[in-house]
């Protein structure tokens, strides 16, 4: 129940932030504002193939179903790669799924907000992806099932220049791929 409330709350916050972001993007004309925002909404636009596994269902934009496997984005505080407690159940669910389906694999894509040095942010994005990877490895996922990559600040899902956007960009996306 607690998890459900937290998740819905997050979805609501994200939706609000995205609405604000899309508005600004439209006016300011930053590249990718609208499209990026769509992709960022709970990872709905990510394709995840699910090669042979029926365990993962596609999802829409809504937050009605709160299967933790449908949460594919972990968010971070500024200049931090520490995983907040509320995201641990989500990572645990993906880890359990990967253990149960050894033929599936994920790419953990680390990202940062636009503030500060591009090169430092590239390293910070990598550290975020590595932090999620370590948590999955501890739970028994085979190293070969996990790939990490950092895009630093080069791949924002939201392109306005405020905290509402920045917090959506400080993230690790869990991207399933066929193996």
């Amino acid at each position: 129940m607690t998890r459900r409330i937290v998740s819905i709350g997050l979805a609501a916050v994200a939706a609000l932030a995205l609405a604000a972001c899309a508005g600004t993007g439209g006016a300011g004309g930053g590249p990718g504002a609208a499209g990026g925002a769509g992709a960022g909404a709970g990872g709905g636009a990510q394709s995840y193939g699910a090669g042979g596994s029926g365990s993962i269902q596609g999802q829409g934009m809504g937050g009605a179903q709160q299967n933790p496997l449908e949460q594919r984005t972990i968010y971070f505080a500024f200049d931090s790669s520490a995983i907040e407690a509320k995201y641990r159940p989500i990572i645990a669910a993906h880890a359990a799924n990967l253990v149960a389906h050894p033929n599936e694999s994920v790419t953990l894509e680390g990202n940062t907000d636009e503030r500060g040095s591009a090169e430092y942010n590239l390293a910070l994005g990598e550290r975020r992806a590595e932090a999620v990877k370590q948590m999955m490895l501890v739970q028994g996922v085979a190293p070969a099932q996990i790939r990490t990559i950092s895009f630093g600040k080069e791949r924002p899902v939201c392109t306005a220049h405020d905290e509402a956007c920045w917090k959506l960009n400080r993230r690790v996306d869990i991207v399933y791929s066929k193996q």
Partner: protein
């Protein structure tokens, strides 16, 4: 028929020339208080077209203004328009309060080449000693802009005693596109943003271009294989080589002053560390050993040390380490965020991205005096890079929702913005002197 042919040729010329104007446009963003007034008279022109292909006088005036040290008079304030030594009346210019006068001419020779003459006067000297420079160039049409920048360099050197850095090039990355479709391009242009040439295009991010010491090659990071890898590309031939492609990060390349080594960041052992790569042997040498982030290494001019960003103290700060490995020294203590160091050509200053009160600005630390000075206004400045004469810093900034390039003088007095008509411009790197 003759008219038609001329028309077609003119059209073709327009086509050939137009990419030049698709470059970066300059706006002065910070005043010229304390700049020395100088008169640059429009150069005379003798040739078959109504106007010369390049306005040499205007290019020189813009260069001098960009340096922050000179304030060229507006055309309307010029009291006379001499273009040759016998037309100069020094007292005319003293009345205007200018110290120096630049005049010159451009003519087409029968060979089709252009002859450019330039003269520089100190108007307060007696006539016999007033002429400080007199120079004639004979160049191909394509060399006219470069000739103008060389003239600016000569004038700057004559009047300040410092070498000019106008006849240099810059590298940068442009980004355009929307949604999930992006186009990235690595470009090289003149220091004033003109004549951009595309070096690499990719649908995936390109980052961190770094010039080789002689300006013949660029090292950079490309995500074209879906992850960051380091390439070296020859600018004359376009030939390129993948030099670092380990698992994890391959990023932040920087050439050693002798051009034989590359410093870079690798996370092949799971954590971002500084390495050097010997470009002759292909051997990597690990420099840092710390569980924190270590990245953005640049060389000191003597080639002995690397200055880099690390968050080993909590937040990112600037550190120094011998390039061969050894004890690490912390250099910055002002504020909680200092990253992306650039070392001045004389090794006396370090420019960096300085986070303060939610904004990110370019700051400079003077290593001798310890003076720490914030030069820019932010809010999202990044990637500082020194001009080869150490007098200006090129960086990327946020302006009206887009990434643009900007320059600021090392004393923070004068600044300009170089923006593209559309899309974003980032990751600038100022190239070395041209031979």
């Amino acid at each position: 028929m003759g008219i038609l042919r001329r028309y077609v040729v003119a059209l073709l010329l327009l086509c050939a020339v137009s990419p030049v104007w698709a470059g970066l446009t300059i706006q002065i963003t910070r005043g010229v208080a304390g700049a020395v007034p100088i008169a640059v008279v429009p150069f005379s022109w003798s040739g078959p077209t109504p106007a010369p292909p390049q306005d040499i006088g205007a290019i020189v005036a813009a260069d001098l203004a960009r340096s922050g040290r000179f304030a060229p008079l507006a055309d309307k304030d010029l009291v006379a328009h001499p273009t040759a030594p016998d037309q100069v009346k020094l007292q005319n210019w003293r009345v205007l309060g200018v110290n120096d006068l630049v005049i010159g001419s451009v003519r087409v020779l029968p060979s089709g080449r252009y002859q450019v003459e330039v003269y520089l006067y100190d108007v307060y000297q007696p006539p016999a000693q007033a002429q400080l420079l007199g120079q004639r160039f004979v160049v191909a049409p394509a060399q006219l802009r470069r000739t103008a920048h060389r003239i600016s360099d000569m004038i700057f050197k004559q009047l300040t005693g410092l070498p000019g850095a106008f006849d240099t090039r810059i590298a940068y990355v442009t980004m355009s596109g929307t949604g999930k479709v992006h186009r990235y391009a690595l470009k090289v242009a003149d220091s004033d943003g003109y004549d951009p040439r595309t070096v690499l295009e990719s649908p995936e991010p390109i980052m961190s271009p770094a010039w080789s010491p002689h300006g013949r090659r660029l090292a950079y990071v490309s995500f074209e294989h879906g992850r960051p890898e380091v390439y070296i590309q020859d600018l004359a031939t376009g030939a390129r080589k993948l030099v670092a492609s380990f698992s994890g990060l391959n990023s932040a390349p920087a050439w050693s002053p002798n051009g034989k080594e590359l410093a870079l960041t690798l996370s092949r052992r799971g954590n971002p560390e500084i390495y050097t790569l010997n470009l002759e042997t292909g051997k990597f040498h690990r420099v840092t050993h710390n569980p924190a982030i270590d990245t953005s290494a640049v060389w000191t001019p003597d080639g002995r040390n690397l200055v880099f960003t690390s968050d080993r103290g909590g937040g990112p700060q600037i550190y120094e380490v011998p390039a061969a490995g050894g004890p690490v020294t912390r250099l910055t203590f002002d504020g909680s965020y200092n990253a992306a160091p650039a070392v001045s050509p004389d090794g006396q200053r370090i420019a960096m991205v300085h986070g303060q009160g939610g904004g990110y600005r370019i700051a400079v630390l003077d290593l001798k005096s310890g003076l720490f000075q914030v030069l820019t206004d932010g809010p999202l400045d990044d990637s500082p890079s020194f001009a080869p004469n150490g007098q200006m810093i090129l960086y990327s900034a946020q302006y009206q929702g887009r990434r643009v390039l900007a320059t600021v003088t090392v004393d923070g007095r004068a600044g300009q913005r170089l923006s593209s008509q559309q899309g974003d411009v980032q990751s600038p790197a100022w190239g070395p002197y041209r031979k």
